[in-house]
Amino acid sequence: MDEPGIAIVTRDRFLASIEARRGQAGAVAATIAAAYGIDLPSAGRWAGGADIAFAWAGPGEWSAIADRPIARDLAGRLAGQAAVTDQSDGWHLTEVSGLRVRDTLAKMLPIDLDPAALPPGAVALTRAGHIDLRLRHLSAGVYELAVFRSLGADFAGWLEASAAEFR
């Protein structure tokens, strides 16, 4: 079967925010590397895999995205180094892919989506219209879009409408 013009899948993941305490970013990175074997990514990047990943979420901040509950484990390991908050209920996650995925996203996202500017491994904190959004470029042409859950239905409506012509 040909690759679809656009494919949209809602994802359930366990999320936690990590905010390094003042001067503790290095210690946080060391803890994460020792515990999960992942180097905390620098600005505009994510690292890890489908089981657990860490996405840059701002200066000194990261988001953990996992296939299992993660916040309690992180909070224990990072005690004194970072504030950890379970965000699993807070975000609406969508995975989009397909031949016309960038044409769809370009209708609302004000950033350069060309793989030269936003390659796999990249994270962009931006907005879709008035909805703040975190984008992860997972693998070539596959994107994860995270918005606050209260805006998820609105966002899904926009995404469906924008994708309709590429179905």
Binding site: G44, P59, P110, I111, T126, R127
Partner: protein, 83 residues
């Protein structure tokens, strides 16, 4: 107008919120009077170089100090505020 965030790169102005003149100073310790009136209400509104706060609201949520020419919108510098 676009700003180059030190963390996120070059972004459109719709991602940012304006925070006003970066050189104003609160007249802490002054009794309520002219100094507070000036601080709250009066702006220099220069034609030319201006240092101003910008917040990357839809991005990394960092506060930035931007030096901008108000007559041309040419941005001379964007600096992160020390955390």
């Amino acid at each position: 107008m676009r700003l180059t965030c030190p963390h996120c790169g070059n972004r459109g102005i719709e991602e940012f919120a304006y925070g006003g003149d970066a050189d104003r100073r609160r007249p802490d310790g002054e009794p309520f009077g002219q100094a507070w009136m000036d601080y709250v209400y009066l702006r220099r509104n220069p034609a030319g170089a201006h240092r101003e706060w910008w917040y990357h609201a839809s991005g990394c949520r960092a506060w930035l100090v931007v030096t901008r020419d108000t007559t041309t919108h040419v941005v001379a510098s964007v600096q992160e505020v020390a955390r």
